[in-house]
């Protein structure tokens, strides 16, 4: 039972960490949209998130498709998991 609880906690923690990382990436994209005067459309599971600066004309329209959003989430998760697994396997006690 303890192992199951630990495994579920680990999965939830990983998902929360990935969500926070993705939110920070979205924050960076909002910043870039503002600085570079872009018209950004992000598709998230059939919903569209549109970002643009008011009172300015956008020169480039950037669309991030559903596959891009999911791919980004998976890439971030895989990077975290890969780094953690590598460190866990190669860990040695500090003398």
């Amino acid at each position: 039972m303890r192992r199951i609880t630990a495994a579920i906690s680990l999965v939830l923690l990983l998902l929360v960490a990935t969500a926070v990382a993705e939110a920070s990436l979205l924050g960076l994209l909002v910043l870039f949209t503002s600085i570079l005067r872009l018209y950004l459309v992000v598709e998230i599971a059939g919903h569209y998130l549109q970002m643009s600066s008011l009172n300015v004309a956008s020169f480039l329209q950037v669309g991030i498709a559903n596959a891009g959003t999911i791919g980004s989430f998976l890439l971030t998760l895989a990077s975290g998991l890969g780094a953690a697994a590598y460190r866990y396997r190669r860990w040695r006690p500090v003398l």
């Binding site: 870039f32 008011l54 596959a67 895989a78 990077s79 780094a83 500090v94």
Partner: protein, 156 residues
């Protein structure tokens, strides 16, 4: 000054807290001592994390995610930079999956921009300089993040 001792891990404070408190009492204080205490706390946390297998793996996980976020942000800016220099739309795809598309819209007007006098001005938004500056800033941040574990390991 003693408040800075709270920055240290609890296990460390139990073992060395009283000793360090006496040492702080004997020193005149100042910015240098405060900085030493803060760096000492970072080193103590590094030792605690490095000494625990699960904590070390969790730290590596956060580090890997930070690197991934920065790499994706750099990829986004590179896509914009490439799209600025091409006449047609730029597509980014992976196999059959379309990941992102950048379309040159002319000066795409939306919302109050339609009524704004700014849309008749010669616009400088095509310039690649802001994009390049952001790219350099992100690349520097990535270099710092990649070097951070080694720098922390060297800290004594």
């Amino acid at each position: 000054m003693k408040g800075l001792l709270r920055l240290y891990p609890r296990s460390w404070r139990k073992r060395y807290g009283a000793e360090l408190e006496d040492l702080v009492d004997q020193t005149p204080g100042g910015l240098g001592v405060a900085l030493d205490l803060v760096i000492g706390a970072a080193v103590a946390y590094r030792d605690v994390i490095a000494g625990n297998r699960v904590l070390a793996a969790a730290g590596a996980c956060l580090h890997g995610m930070s690197v991934a976020v920065l790499v994706q942000a750099i990829g986004f800016l590179t896509l914009i930079l490439v799209a600025q220099r091409t006449q047609n739309s730029t597509d980014l795809s992976f196999g059959p999956f379309d990941l992102a598309t950048v379309t040159r819209t002319g000066y795409f007007l939306h919302g109050p921009a339609l009524l704004s006098p700014v849309n008749v001005l010669p616009l400088i938004y095509e310039s690649w300089i802001p994009d390049a500056v952001l790219l350099v800033v992100l690349a520097s941040a990535l270099a710092v993040v990649l070097a951070a574990p080694r720098l922390l390991r060297r800290l004594r």
